[in-house]
């Protein structure tokens, strides 16, 4: 069947943008999506392939670059972010002054609604019809695209992954590799269906299709939207790091550039930026730098050929000033490198959509409850084995496990947890505070288990021969749903110790 490729300028891709995927009904229960993901072998393969490769590459490139000083560099990068957060009010003021001097129109948005409203107003005032954007998690956070669509502004994603997701009514599932959960056959099908091109799944051909399509749009776009990896207070600059070059085209070809940036992206000076750039791409994709690093300081000057005539920066709060309090401030160090996602064994099994939010993985499990309410996302801090791989991977040394536990404690303190949990753990704790209760509890548990084990009980050494249970009762059923349970052996260590002491004559 002969197909006619669509005219890029005439075609309007769907803009629902997988809203339902990143904005599920609240409070969010992870069970359904996590269960579905855990039996979706294909999803696990795609996600595992993507994450394992990047994680392994990071583990090689960091010591290869920094030798014995990997931890020192991470500590330095972390302390730069921490310092900036500790004095964010000062650096925000400086940034606004410098950016304004450079010709930028700086806006402050208290929340998503305001951020979108500012952008829509800019679009209206300038009669914007076509808008191109580069990847920005913040614009996902504010649900910008449906808002632009509602006033008739056609908005096309230019990051290849995001573009494909837009065509496919899908949503990003990774901070840095948005379509890690899809493979090239899915891309081929989406292109054939939406762009009227013959099906291919050869990566170079797919890239050419996207390139031709998108390049037709750049000269015609009225507005370009970007995010920001960093804000530099000293110069009033916005920095974006991309591999595809779409960021550069988006922010310089159209007449108007609007950058959406969270206030926590601030760094003090270009020198400090240098340190963070050294660890960002290395932690993210094991590259020394991304192919393009754009440091944008104001719109086109009178004597310059290229650049937007008008540049806006929308600084977004949206609960970040709440996270800024001392107990949680460290979470804001995040430079969105995605290393924690790549290292996380949970993320590797369930993928990003299972977190039910824009920000997934370990860092997402921290900031999503903070941004959208702990009562709405109780599962996220709990759905972790606290293995610490994320902390080890983080280039700015955010102690993610510590904060996950802190959020769990907040859930308990606010009475958001299950009552049964409180009863169980507090009772257990009580028996542990008395040595006799502990010993009796242990004895009882051991007898019960061994009784239930029946014929599986092996004869042999009293300190190692055991039996097995394949069904645990009530609240413990979760264990035996997935694996058998070993019983204790006949005797415990304390018994041996007493014998041991007797044999030593003590």
């Amino acid at each position: 069947m002969a197909q006619t490729p669509v005219d890029p300028l005439a075609f309007t891709p769907p803009s629902m943008h997988g809203e339902h995927l990143l904005d599920p009904p609240l409070p969010y229960d992870i069970t359904k999506r996590a269960s579905a993901a855990s039996v979706n072998i294909q999803l696990q393969q795609f996600v595992a392939n993507g994450t394992t490769a990047k994680d392994s590459a990071r583990k090689l490139v960091m010591p290869a670059t920094f030798g014995e000083h990997v931890d020192d560099v991470r500590a330095l990068a972390g302390s730069i972010k921490q310092h900036t957060l500790d004095h964010l009010d000062y650096y925000l003021e400086q940034f606004i002054d410098r950016a304004t001097e450079a010709g930028v129109k700086v806006h402050f948005a208290a929340d998503s609604k305001q951020a979108n409203a500012i952008c829509l107003e800019i679009a209206r005032q300038n009669n914007v019809k076509l808008c191109l954007k580069s990847k920005s998690m913040v614009t996902e956070e504010t649900h910008l695209l449906p808002a632009l669509e509602s006033i008739g502004v056609k908005t096309i994603e230019t990051d290849l992954g995001e573009f494909i997701l837009q065509l496919d009514n899908d949503a990003p599932s990774h901070l840095v590799a948005p379509m890690i959960h899809k493979d090239r056959t899915a891309v081929g099908r989406a292109f054939a269906r939406e762009l009227g091109v013959p099906y291919t799944d050869v990566p170079t051909e797919l890239t050419q299709i996207a390139r031709q399509y998108l390049r037709a749009l750049y000269p015609k776009a009225d507005m370009g939207i970007s995010g920001g990896n960093f804000l530099v207070a000293e110069t009033g600059s916005v920095v974006i790091c991309t591999n595809e070059g779409n960021g550069r085209l988006c922010t310089s070809a159209p007449r108007i550039h609007v950058a959406f940036v969270g206030i926590e992206k601030m760094v003090p000076t270009l020198s400090h930026l240098g340190v963070l750039l050294k660890v960002l791409a290395r932690s993210s994709t094991a590259q020394p730098l991304t192919c393009y690093t754009h440091i944008m300081t104001g719109p086109k000057r009178a004597h310059e050929h290229d650049g937007p005539e008008e540049m806006h920066i929308i600084l977004l709060d949206n609960q970040r000033t709440q996270i800024l309090r001392e107990e949680t401030r460290e979470m804001l160090r995040c430079i969105r490198c995605g290393a924690c996602l790549n290292a996380c064994p949970v993320y590797r099994k369930i993928g990003g959509h299972a977190y039910g939010a824009v920000y997934s993985g370990p860092i997402g499990s921290l900031i999503t409850p903070m941004l959208r309410g702990l009562d709405n996302y109780k599962d996220l801090p709990n759905a972790s084995s606290l293995c610490g791989a994320c902390y080890e991977a983080c280039p700015v040394k955010i102690n993610i496990p510590k904060y996950l536990v802190q959020l769990r404690a907040d859930i308990v303190k606010s009475n958001l947890g299950k009552k049964a949990d409180a009863v169980f753990f507090r009772t257990w704790a009580m028996t542990l505070k008395h040595s006799l209760l502990y010993r009796m509890g242990g004895w009882f548990q051991s007898r019960m288990f061994r009784l239930q084990a029946g014929r599986t009980l092996r004869k042999g050494s009293p300190y190692s021969a055991r039996g097995w249970l394949n069904k645990l009762p009530g609240p413990f059923k979760g264990w035996t749903d997935q694996r058998d349970m070993p019983t204790p052996p006949a005797k415990n260590f304390r018994h041996w110790w007493h014998e041991h002491q007797k044999s030593k004559g003590q």
């Binding site: 099994k349 536990v405 303190k413 753990f425 704790a429 979760g478």
Partner: protein
């Protein structure tokens, strides 16, 4: 050298032979080992589930129990990490126990860590001998205490031990305490990945030192029908030095003989 042994609640009940082996090895290496009887639990389950007041009470108790110890050695990496990484912070606002928390953290060691980094054991020189092919699972909480390849180095000192590296050795097995019961599909997917890696090595024995990991992985191997046996490194060392009789672990899938 005076060592106080912290057996841990799980090891005491479920894997006592690991603890017995550890004590025998420490005594063989010349340590004077005592066992403060009042010990119960480090409080990690309460800490990880957010019951911090209870966890703090148990931390205080631990500080008291081991107050007079020079060194506290435990076969569980996760309990050592709880004490080292979290006790100082947990107790920092209690003037009566703040210093005690710091002191206990400073003198607590995981068993293999203690052998390698403090006692500087050389099993080759001691002519340790143990025949068998094993693969090794790296328990996550060793990250927290800066223990990396100590166990592998020890295994390589033992004559006759054929060590086969485990693919994705340091990927979490999915235990995580309450996590394994509260999020079964995720935990199950993680442990099944671990079982797949173990099966791929074709090694008959898995060395796993943390009781929680062992219960989880062994239980999953049995459920999946992967016939491997589980041993802890303290047991292998004790057997290798002739301190304990060699005991072939039952492959977890073998039905009971009666």
């Amino acid at each position: 050298m005076k060592v106080s042994f912290f057996v841990t609640c799980l090891t005491d009940t479920f894997y006592p032979r690991t603890a017995i082996a550890a004590v025998k090895v420490l005594e063989h290496l010349g340590c004077e080992v005592d066992f403060p009887q009042e010990q119960t639990c480090c409080g990690q389950p309460m800490y990880n589930t957010g019951f911090h007041d209870d966890s703090r009470d148990l931390a205080r108790r631990m500080v008291r129990v081991f107050e007079h110890s020079d060194h506290v050695v435990t076969p569980s990496g996760s309990c050592a990490a709880m004490i080292r990484d979290y006790y100082p912070d947990l107790l920092k606002d209690d003037p009566a126990y703040a210093q005690g928390g710091i002191d206990l953290a400073a003198k607590t060691f995981e068993f293999i860590e203690f052998l390698v980094n403090v006692l500087k054991v050389d099993l080759k020189a001691m002519q340790a001998r143990w025949e068998g092919q094993v693969t090794y699972h790296y328990s996550c909480h060793l990250r927290g205490i800066g223990v990396t390849d100590e166990a592998v180095r020890v295994m390589k000192q033992i004559d006759g031990l054929d060590y086969v590296p485990l693919p994705k050795q340091d990927q979490c097995c999915g235990f995580g305490g309450a996590f394994s019961i509260k999020y079964p599909p995720i935990s199950g997917a993680m442990v099944n990945d671990k079982v797949g890696c173990i099966a791929s090595t074709k090694a008959p024995i898995v060395v796993s030192n943390d009781a929680g990991c062992t219960m989880n992985i062994a239980g999953a191997c049995r459920r999946q029908g992967v016939a491997v046996g589980f041993k802890s490194l303290p047991e292998i060392i004790a057997e290798g030095l002739g301190l304990l009789p060699v005991e072939q672990p039952d492959p977890v899938t073998t039905p009971a003989s009666s």
